[in-house]
Symmetry: D3
Subunit: 284 residues, 6 copies
């Protein structure tokens, strides 16, 4: 069973509304290599695990638990980017007497029609999240290799989306997730290392210069690229795998740690043009 404390796993930085950035950041939420995919893939792999070597199941489940918080973080980031983008006097909006005309320019129009300027379970092209993306064939080596390429593609895509806008709301969240995805690369690379593989200098993928993504630095200094946050309220065998020297080019030892202290969930104001929540005086 699953328990919850209303805290975000990282901070939401404030910056200007930016619906074009919100549109591309959807890839990180509802895309084929986004956080909903990682969350659901590891959920199915955990529940469907076969055999007695449950240290690997506990590793996969441990990452799953964090991914739920990642989904929540990206939802809140997209909301912040959308919030206020369709009100008169903000950005290009309100020209032509049409407060939501932003939606017909560079935005995903469904952010304004289906969502009340809020996140959706879709990718950057507007395609809905799809269950066929979940890889869980039950062969542990195949599953671990797929997880490794999933986390690698996650970082790769995030470094590319990072270059699409200088908006700090978007970049801060991406930077945190890039470092965390590196930790998850380490988790699955380490699991395969226990089966004999030597990765040499292959990871992290992509082979990036951290100075290109300055927001990442503080998370690296906190050791987040080598940490696995533990969200279990009971015993877990995760540390039997996630320990020892990092399997990547980066220095350091892997360690299981407490989750970060939580950050407040931003409150979203009422949005009259969207009739959201639209209770009026019906309930006081």
């Amino acid at each position: 069973m699953y328990y919850y404390k209303q805290e975000l796993i990282n901070e939401i930085k404030t910056d200007r509304p930016d619906p074009a950035a919100a549109k591309v950041l959807q890839e990180t939420l509802g895309g084929q290599f986004g956080e909903m995919r990682t969350m659901m893939q590891y959920f199915f792999q955990s529940s469907n695990f076969r055999g007695k070597q449950t240290q690997y199941r506990d590793l996969i489940r441990g990452v799953f638990l964090e991914e739920i918080s990642h989904v929540e973080l990206v939802q809140n980031t997209i909301n912040q980017l959308l919030n206020g983008s369709g009100e008169p006097g903000v950005g290009n909006s309100g020209s032509d007497g049409a407060p939501l005309d932003e939606a017909i320019k560079h935005a995903n129009p469904h952010h304004f029609i289906m969502g009340a300027q809020s996140s959706l379970p879709v990718d950057a092209g507007g395609n809905p999240w799809n269950g066929s993306w979940v890889y869980n064939h039950g062969n542990l080596i195949a599953d671990l290799l797929n997880n490794l390429i999933l986390e690698s593609t996650g970082v790769l895509q995030k470094t590319r989306i990072y270059e699409m806008s200088s908006n700090q709301t978007m970049r801060e969240t991406l930077a945190f997730l890039i470092v965390r995805d590196n930790a998850h690369q380490n988790a699955f690379a380490k699991a395969l290392e226990t089966l004999g593989v030597d990765w040499a200098k292959l990871f992290p993928v992509p082979n990036y210069d951290i100075n290109k993504y300055p927001e990442c630095r503080k998370y690296v200094e906190l050791g987040y690229h080598n940490a696995q946050f533990n969200f279990r309220l009971d015993h877990t065998r995760i540390a039997e795998v996630f320990q020892g020297e990092s399997p990547s080019r980066n220095e350091g030892n892997l360690f299981v740690s407490e989750p970060p202290k939580g950050f407040p969930v931003p409150e979203m104001p009422e949005m009259p043009n969207e009739h959201s929540p639209g209770l009026g005086d019906m309930n006081r």
Copy 2:
């Protein structure tokens, strides 16, 4: 952030392997009105909530938290139904020297090709779960009405799937979920009652005779149709809405309670024909 204790929200009854039942039960996991849909719909509605009347957000989030456990329960139920269905000497299997030939009869063949006789994020027809099913328009009345019809359809479908096999593994899980979906109907019906609606005798939908589904009785006797389990580790305003007389034909008062005591997660054996987990002597 989300925390976990490795316990199921209800018991998995044991019965014979039954891949045909597993195939139709997938509707309850990955179908348009299944548990993945309710989980994700309430997740997005919680994170995207606008305005200060957060008692409604806390209600929606409260149901969301339970739905994660429902997904886990149905995954484990399907696994139990599939487990052993493809080994020689079990049921029709093994005839013709083809241990997995069950997959080409009444089963979903992907349960044997993609899964290692385990659950998938698809519906009873094999269609993958789809993000476009998530309804979250941000207008609270519209969202609550949609949640109500979602829970009603959930019960309706479960009563129909119940009639498709007398397998106890399947029926026990369905019975528990029917009663819980009734509680969730009550949650959303009550929320709309606070906005003035009087439902008369409309709920529960469908208007069923509990004697037709005898496995439901014990859960009703525990009051599970009027309870909301609380998985929050911090404060929640849920009881501001979920309290007072039931909005349905059924007697009683709504109350917030502790989650059920947990049940053990069944262990799944190795499955050599599926190469799962397939480590052999690679890791000792």
Copy 3:
């Protein structure tokens, strides 16, 4: 605007329940070359027509109007095939104390889970109808050629589905539609003939022997393969195109006629196992 009289365009023959036949007949309703496709394709082509040669638009619209009745006819045929298939004592049903267990054998399980033993907008494989199938590029020659191949494929598929069961409910409806699709082949072939094409003996496609489908004979004797039923309440230019010698191997002249006398719509009984309609004593 569209007007309605509650009459079917052809008779529904009664025969035994046959959910396996219902499953494959869905191709004719919701498949890529089924009646929903023809209806919607001609609807869009009619509304989007460009230029002054509106005799072609009126031809296309005339076929569109009939296709709405074809959709209704196939819905009712599928309902007749499903009706009663899930009650105790009918066919294999009810074995094992599970009245709807038919759904996990040769049926489309959604016919029992989503529909109350009734038709769905899906094809024989359970794939939902899809708007991308509508062909309407606005170039009249391309559109007419596509309509011709659409009607040809319609007949071809129906002759194949005809061979899948000897059930008279299914075969009678297919026979009527085979002959009508031949008339529609004639309509579009004739339209292209007015632009200079000589089809020689190419049509009808496929080149079938009517004795193989004896139910077709009476419709041919009524001249239905050369008639275009007229559902317009105002003037139409359709007869400027649909007239003169048939463009196909079959004898005769094309003619515009009144629609057939209508046939009664079968009444569907309540279905308690499906909770349909499920009002109980709520409404007297």
Copy 4:
């Protein structure tokens, strides 16, 4: 069977070409909560109806018949918005020697590639219409509740699209449909009222101020929010349900009436850049 008179159910106002508005208005035609969905959902519910209380079937079928005209109205509105948007000298077009370069800016490129500047069965994001959206579970309460939320979401989305452009071609059609969707909310809310529900002040959803949508006023003054147009050529029991006091906050009594007098269907000119219809001198 279905009959037709070539008249639109409302007027098409003329304004400038506006392919960006055409793109978002597609949601109202081919979106998950658009007119194709309502049309098809009520079609299936009518044909699949079970039991003797056919006053409800006649109500659903009555709304279905009007929805066919709504589809036709939105097709024509989109055509008007697209028409002429790709010719030299109009708007931004023709710059760069590329007459259709509008298609690569804010338009749906398929409006120029697949359609000859005309409507498509897709939503605002370009996703094709999908049969899985049709809700028809055969339980009358569930079906009516789903219809109610469908009509509510229809209004909600239309008020949001209304704000995306001040184009009068788009806004007039939206205003008419907003008022008609309110009438359909009343139809399904009333049907549930006959089963005992008291809606208090919940409807219409959303709770909008009519002064925000001034084009709506004349339709309200005509009583269109309380009327059900009757397109039946034979007897219907619709007035057994659709009568008496409105179930919504708005004043007045429900009444069944004749359809509006029809409006002319705009003629669409030839479009040489699109080769539409492209007959040239082939047919005189």
Copy 5:
């Protein structure tokens, strides 16, 4: 079995980067009527051919073989249009310190997130290529008619995309393919002519004036509209069908010829912002 020589079937002209043109040209690669569809449709028709009249199979297979080269040609054209579009100082890029911000304007964002500024198997709207588009019903007349409308739609769409940008990289490739699609129209029209059809002046579709597409002229002068390139290393019966007078309005005789002399495949530079190929000093 299939053999390869690294040469393109036509030249890639160089012009400025143009990601908006790349986005719409995707229709010609991965769209419903694009080169991947023609390639796969003819592949399945060739392999699934029934009966002894293999001259038709060899005709279809002959076109299939050329289509593989067409796919490769369009991939390379899209790459050329994308290449360099996301580097500082090119076009609008680099403003705002975000080198890939082009992706959030008029481009397909997946060209920058999933591809490293390179082609994708999707259409102009970003929808992935879909196997249901392949038409292969095994009835030779139906298959040939469908091929004919497929090639006609191919030309029609290409003439429309041609008008969307004056970019020479895009237009040269389109012009070559327009002429080749005309040859393929001739191939399938001729095949139906051998079965008796007289096409009069129906083809080519659309009925275009070659002066509108000046890049086409040189290919017509080379006779490419009447030629079938032969990629077989063994005997083929194709010339039994593809010979004699053209079935179209255009003059000349059909003839089987050698493939064009090949053209060099452009080399694509490394793209550091995309981490492509991203080997760094890992491999010398």
Copy 6:
């Protein structure tokens, strides 16, 4: 450009018709990890390659070329399994006077409705092939890792499908492809080895005992698990990577070789019940 010789890459063994086996073998043709996916993925990776280290591009392209032949081999295998399954007197067919009633039992009904008892671009569940499956992010390490997991999943699925029927037509083709997929695992594993990785005993995946799949033995004895067939008519750098000791547990050295001698393509007879090819006396 691509050249062709009408020869299959392996032999088609004859056995009884088996439409249920044909249905599941579709996974190997049109499934997410089937031959169409590998073919298209390597096609896009070859054409979109960046940078000067073209030995990797030539390796990927080399595998691509073979995959075209694999697609053709599986198409022909499925055809052989379907051929004759719907004629009277074969298997269960013809009972009930319905020659194609096999299609409504354990078969994919589209094999009889859409195909004339021939292969389709769909998977074992009937879902069409989808372009979103193609992985080509342009980062060479990510692409190679994905290729490796794709080939591993290919073998894994084939060993599972192998167990679903003892039909020799199916098993022989699977056995050949299992060994070839192992060679392709070696290709991509070796490419990553050149970047420093040491795979220890991880491959082949899955870790199978060759005695379980006796048909594989002769291909292993031919060294097919260590060979790369070369289909280039010009120079290729493939042997710069594909050489030296195998990166897998299996013994031996990698070597580039001639393709196998070709095998005849089976001729498919006319199929009157399917109207295929259906020319009758139209063409002599």
